[in-house]
Symmetry: C2
Subunit: 267 residues, 2 copies
């Protein structure tokens, strides 16, 4: 499948500009409202999930809860998905060591079902790449098909921090799935002072289908309670900058909703 061809966008520079971690904090939701871009995904177990309103929202599937606070709990009773205080495990290592397949499937389904009570989801992705363990990735793809939600699938796994032991099976799975693959752009690890330059440099990209993930959050005391608040604020300030917005306006603004309609028709 060539998605851009089916969309009539071959030879264009096409951008999915994606806001991660909605529903986590009021500051994250506030940045989404303030920036005005439609696409993002919601941490359904997050306290503020019910406060997100938007046009192109997905389910940011959660299996970990990595900060001391705020923390998130599973929606289902699976013992392999929680620590002693009942929260999701705080690291991918612990998750991947313990998570039982049937408990993961039940939990991810519960998150999708709960999301459907809050908004009309268009796509799936996953917090911290929790579904990269290959047997979990199979569930992820299967649930995407079952619920007709477009799963985020990168063009390449290089540079995404995937444990090498997972790579062969993941590559095999990705080669089979009937979903478009996107070129990943992720400024998360850049120092904040390089953020504006990163966004301005997007002007130099050649044609293609790009997926840019950002974590914008308002500069508030609550937003700054997260250990990685600096990178969140840097995204917010850059994406509010008029020159960055001019650069972004030169891309075709694709939504997961439009991709979903290509794959399954309008719902």
């Amino acid at each position: 499948m060539d998605l851009l061809e089916r969309l009539g966008l071959l030879g264009r520079r096409v951008l999915l500009l994606h806001h991660d971690d909605l529903g986590l904090t009021h500051a994250q939701n506030g940045a989404y409202q303030a920036l005005g871009f439609p696409t993002g995904s919601v941490l359904v177990p997050g306290a503020w999930a019910s406060g997100v309103r938007g046009e192109d929202l997905g389910v940011h599937l959660v299996l970990t809860s990595e900060w001391p606070a705020p923390r998130m709990r599973p929606l289902t009773p699976g013992e392999s998905l929680r620590d002693e205080a009942g929260y999701f495990p705080s690291s991918l290592e612990v998750l991947w060591q313990n998570a039982r397949l049937e408990e993961v499937e039940r939990e991810l389904k519960a998150q999708i079902e709960a999301a459907k009570r809050l908004f009309s989801p268009t796509h799936l992705d996953t917090h911290q790449g929790a579904v990269l363990r290959p047997d979990l990735a199979e569930i992820y793809v299967r649930l995407a098909e079952e619920y007709r939600l477009v799963p985020l699938i990168p063009e390449s796994l290089e540079g995404l921090g995937v444990p090498p032991v997972f790579l062969p099976e993941l590559e095999r799975l990705m080669a089979q799935v009937p979903f478009p693959r996107v070129r990943f752009l992720d400024p998360y690890g850049l120092p904040p002072e390089e953020r504006l330059g990163f966004y301005l440099d997007l002007a130099n990209l050649p044609p293609g289908l790009y997926y840019l993930v950002h974590h914008s959050a308002l500069p508030t005391p609550e937003g700054r309670a997260l250990p990685d608040w600096r990178t969140r604020e840097a995204d917010y300030f850059a994406l509010a900058h008029p020159e960055v917005r001019r650069v972004l306006s030169e891309f075709y603004p694709l939504t997961w909703r439009a991709v979903r309609e290509v794959l399954w028709g309008a719902s």
Copy 2:
């Protein structure tokens, strides 16, 4: 039992100054840290529960989630405790109509057990008075005894908004329980502009055991996302006021921890 006599405080003005709804928002936790009073209780299903650190913390038992956002979910699977999106019901009426006794008991136990993984709880109380349905109140008292946590029990049920149909059974239960009863002081419903006066007027109280419940929250965007933020900020500004703090300093500052030691010995 006369608690004040056992504490050697007979004839004194004794105050339990209690901070409600900790763990709900960053703004609520921030006010607790800023004010420096030790006593409060934590909404364990709240996203920020794991961020509360303090000397005299209780479990603010939750069975309702009344705001559009943030919302809270049960820790246990009971169907009678959740709405279609999996949150606690948004009103006491719906809760009291549907809640099954065994599901309530399981949920309240889970909240106490989870709290014990986060801090060393000293007492029990309940969000929105959710346990006032008499059969739930029996569970509340029984769990207090089982876990050796002092339950909040008011001296009188008048003016607390208890449905009249519950009153006879509640009065009978309260007359039997071996726990101290406290005189309730609650400025929540006062207009913000009367808040400072309310606190200053405490100077005129006669001797006795008083329980003053406040809902202080920092004046931040997140704090102001709650519909009742004005009453929370009014408490915060009043309790930060030097003249109010002078008035409070004339009371004996009782903690639930001290009450617990009288009832069960030091733990």
